[in-house]
Amino acid sequence: MTLFEAIYVTPPALTAQAPILVVAGPLIGASAAALSPGARTAWMVSVLTAAFALWMSVAVVTEVAREGVVDYALGGFAPPLGIALRIDALGATLALLIASVGLLGALYSGHALSSEVYPGKHGLFQAGYLLCLAGFLGLVFTGDAFNAFVFLEVSSIGTYALVAVGEARDRRALPAAFNYLIFGTVGATFYVLGVGFLYGATGTLNLVDMSVRLAALGDNFAVQAGLAFIVAGLGVKAAIFPLHGWLPGAYAGAPSLVSVFLAATATKSAIYLIVRFVFDVFPTGGFGQTFLALIVAPLAAAAAIVCSVQAIFEKEVRRILAFSSVAQVGFIMLGISLATTGGLSAGVFYLVAHALMKGALFMGVGALAISVKARTVEEFYGLGREAPWSAAAFAVGAASLAGVPLTMGFLAKWSLIAGALEAGALWVVATLAVGSLLTLVYVGRLLEAMFFRAPLPGATRAHEAPFGVLVPLLVMAGLSVWFGVDSSLPESLSRASATGLIGSAR
């Protein structure tokens, strides 16, 4: 974080307001996008809004680097009466990630959308996209348990519709979106239930106030069950095995922009909230960590193995990537449930790495599918020659996913295993090793199809994606490489996140 301490990107008056602007900016932008007369205007609104959110996120990150934690009381009321934003290092990291992916996604949508969504719906689509962006950003910034639910729903309601829009390409998007809506709403309601129990036991919704009161309260069934419901509810959104049933269909069916954005941010923000509750709200070393270690960690390990195997046997590229996401969430949760500084920091690092690589992969799939409607692995045969740049970016993302050295994915796996070794959790090391091996198998299959196979006879020739699609794709893939060679930026952010949550002592 020391990197950011001396950086000032905004005038002081704006810096003080930056936290709320990160969230309110996209909300206002969404309205503007919905009001835009044409597809082009809506796209420009989307890009400008996302850029603004990124700018403000950077301002918040620099402020967090200086202050440690940034508080922002909304409505001028001090918490717990009013709602407060509370941004710690982890929240700032996530915001930076979400806003960056948001901007790249917005840029990408300029061309990618036209082949997937009717032009007349672009304005609404961009509005929905910005609402999702606002929702995820709000989720990682809020310091209020119920406000988090509201932002969870802001992002979710938008997401359901955006996934369903994928019907224009593939009608299976519709049942997938419906499924997602059912799962997601049950999850959100579980979260509300859990918050209800915590509220019943503490009388407050402010997370800081809640943690103070929980520490004084000691063990209580309402509190423990409350956490269980919160983790289960958020676990649906985070696609923690076995609550991931909605994910493969949704990622496979959604328009590629939505898949990119969801894969890179949706599960991540839910994971963030779980971490927040377990490590920040619940007392250190208390029930929350026990719950993670005893319930979540075994499930995460199961996900890392089972879903990797499922990915190996999938035929459709997007579904392979989707199952891979579930498995990778397992990796992340394994790191987090170690509950050590090393493990948590590795989990956060992995989270960022995974967001970037999956973003590049889904963008790559979208770029490759612009000229040919390639869906299955067979239809990907030979695309490596026909669309070399898109394929190369895809390959970089895949390499990072597989953990090839000098990509961010390698460092992520490295720090995860190092964290597990440090914590003495050898079974985690073994799981990670086997999971990585399985990852290599399906990644190898994808790359073999693209680069070492001749196109199927009769397949239409693919063309390179347009420039506007290629640039964000290459940037996204480039980030995976850059951070793989010099990881000081994400490393320091994740380290600060972990020490902010559980201290550097352990």
């Binding site: 307001q17 009001l35 509201v150 938008g158 369903a164 269980a228």
Partner: protein
């Protein structure tokens, strides 16, 4: 304390809850979709009554309007569009959910055993922040309805989010179902209700009354049960009634779908704009105390609300009013968008994709 009054209200509470359980069981039991939907409406009405017993007047109002009104209409509309057969029941696929439900229920029973007794005034939930709102509202906000004060000011950010959720739902429905009937479609030769003179006259009379009532509910929100949401839903009834009696084409001609969509976005802009104005005046986002610059606030006549002796936080008053207007705009236009979406779909040949 007077035990009899408490026990009487407790007995009412128990009776209503048992009634709700019976209705829920009937919903689970029935194979008719229409019956289930109507039972849902009854359920909402019964829970509205229960909510009044629980002193939640605002929630009761909303539940009656939204739960019994909007939800039922939307469900019925969707049912008409999909023309389903009877719900099939397969006992084998009921086993796993039953096990799940029993498990989750057991966990919930365990959880509530950790909660304070029902009605306990000293429970953490009632003693901490909840009580603070009651104590502080007269000073901080200065309006009688504490629920509105919390909703629009203390937790105004939640309400902004809530407005955005509604807006998002409008976007979602519009993306799915389009924006009312396409202009290319031929106008139906016979308007529905064309020959029902009584209906038309009654509707013409009712619509202004509905609009009037909506604004009453909006402005009354500070004082009693009511506010932007309820008012928005009621306001939306006016064009919906118009469409039902005079035909969707007539309504969309008067209030185009694009306009409605714009108003929905405008509502969010109004709400967020209030927040931004507060920020521009040096306060925090949605800090209504900074809604006006001091110079402007001094210009407001003390007797504006008819009671010059009572101290008013003008910023809070106007801030709450403005955001309620924003909520009203978004909610009413989203409700109309949803109606346009479902109703417009009906004029298409259902069953052919797009």
């Amino acid at each position: 304390m007077n035990a009899i009054a408490l026990e009487a209200s407790f007995a009412l509470n128990v009776a209503l809850l048992l009634m709700l359980v019976a209705i829920a069981a009937a919903i689970a039991w029935t194979r008719s979709l229409v019956a289930a939907i109507l039972l849902m409406g009854v359920y909402s009405l019964a829970s509205a009554v229960w909510l009044v017993v629980m002193d939640a007047a605002d929630v009761a109002f909303t539940e009656a309007v939204v739960g019994a009104g909007v939800s039922t209409v939307v469900l019925l509309g969707a049912t008409l569009l999909v023309r389903p057969g009877p719900v099939r029941v397969d006992w084998r696929r009921a086993i796993a959910p039953a096990v799940l439900v029993v498990g989750v229920g057991a966990l919930l029973v365990l959880a509530v055993s950790g909660l304070a007794s029902f009605g306990d005034p000293s429970s953490p939930a009632n003693a901490h922040v909840g009580r603070s709102y009651l104590v502080e509202t007269p000073n901080d906000i200065g309006i009688p309805n504490v629920v509105t004060a919390v909703l629009a000011s203390y937790r105004g950010f939640d309400t902004l989010g809530e407005t955005v959720v509604i807006f998002a739902a409008g976007i979602g429905v519009a993306l799915m179902l389009g924006f009312g009937p396409r202009s290319s479609l031929p106008q139906p030769p016979v308007q529905p209700g064309e020959h029902h003179v009584v209906l038309r006259v009654t509707a013409r009379l009712l619509i202004p009354l509905i609009i009037l009532f909506a604004f009453y509910v909006l402005f009354h929100g500070d004082l009693g049960a009511g506010g932007g949401f309820q008012a928005g839903v009621i306001l939306a009834v006016a064009p919906i009634l118009h469409a039902l009696v005079f035909g969707l084409h007539a309504t969309t001609a008067a209030i185009p779908a694009g306009f409605v969509r714009g108003v929905a976005a405008l509502g969010v802009l109004v709400f967020a704009g209030v927040g931004v104005v507060c920020m521009a005046n040096g306060g925090g986002f949605l800090d209504y105390d900074r809604l006006f610059m001091p110079r402007v606030e001094a210009m407001i006549p003390p007797g504006l609300l008819g009671d010059p002796t009572h101290s008013h936080n003008w910023g809070q008053h106007f801030g709450i009013l403005l955001v309620e207007v924003g909520v009203l705009l978004t909610v009413s236009s989203t409700m109309v968008t949803i109606f346009y979406g479902f109703a417009g779909r009906a004029t298409h040949d259902v069953g052919s994709a797009r």
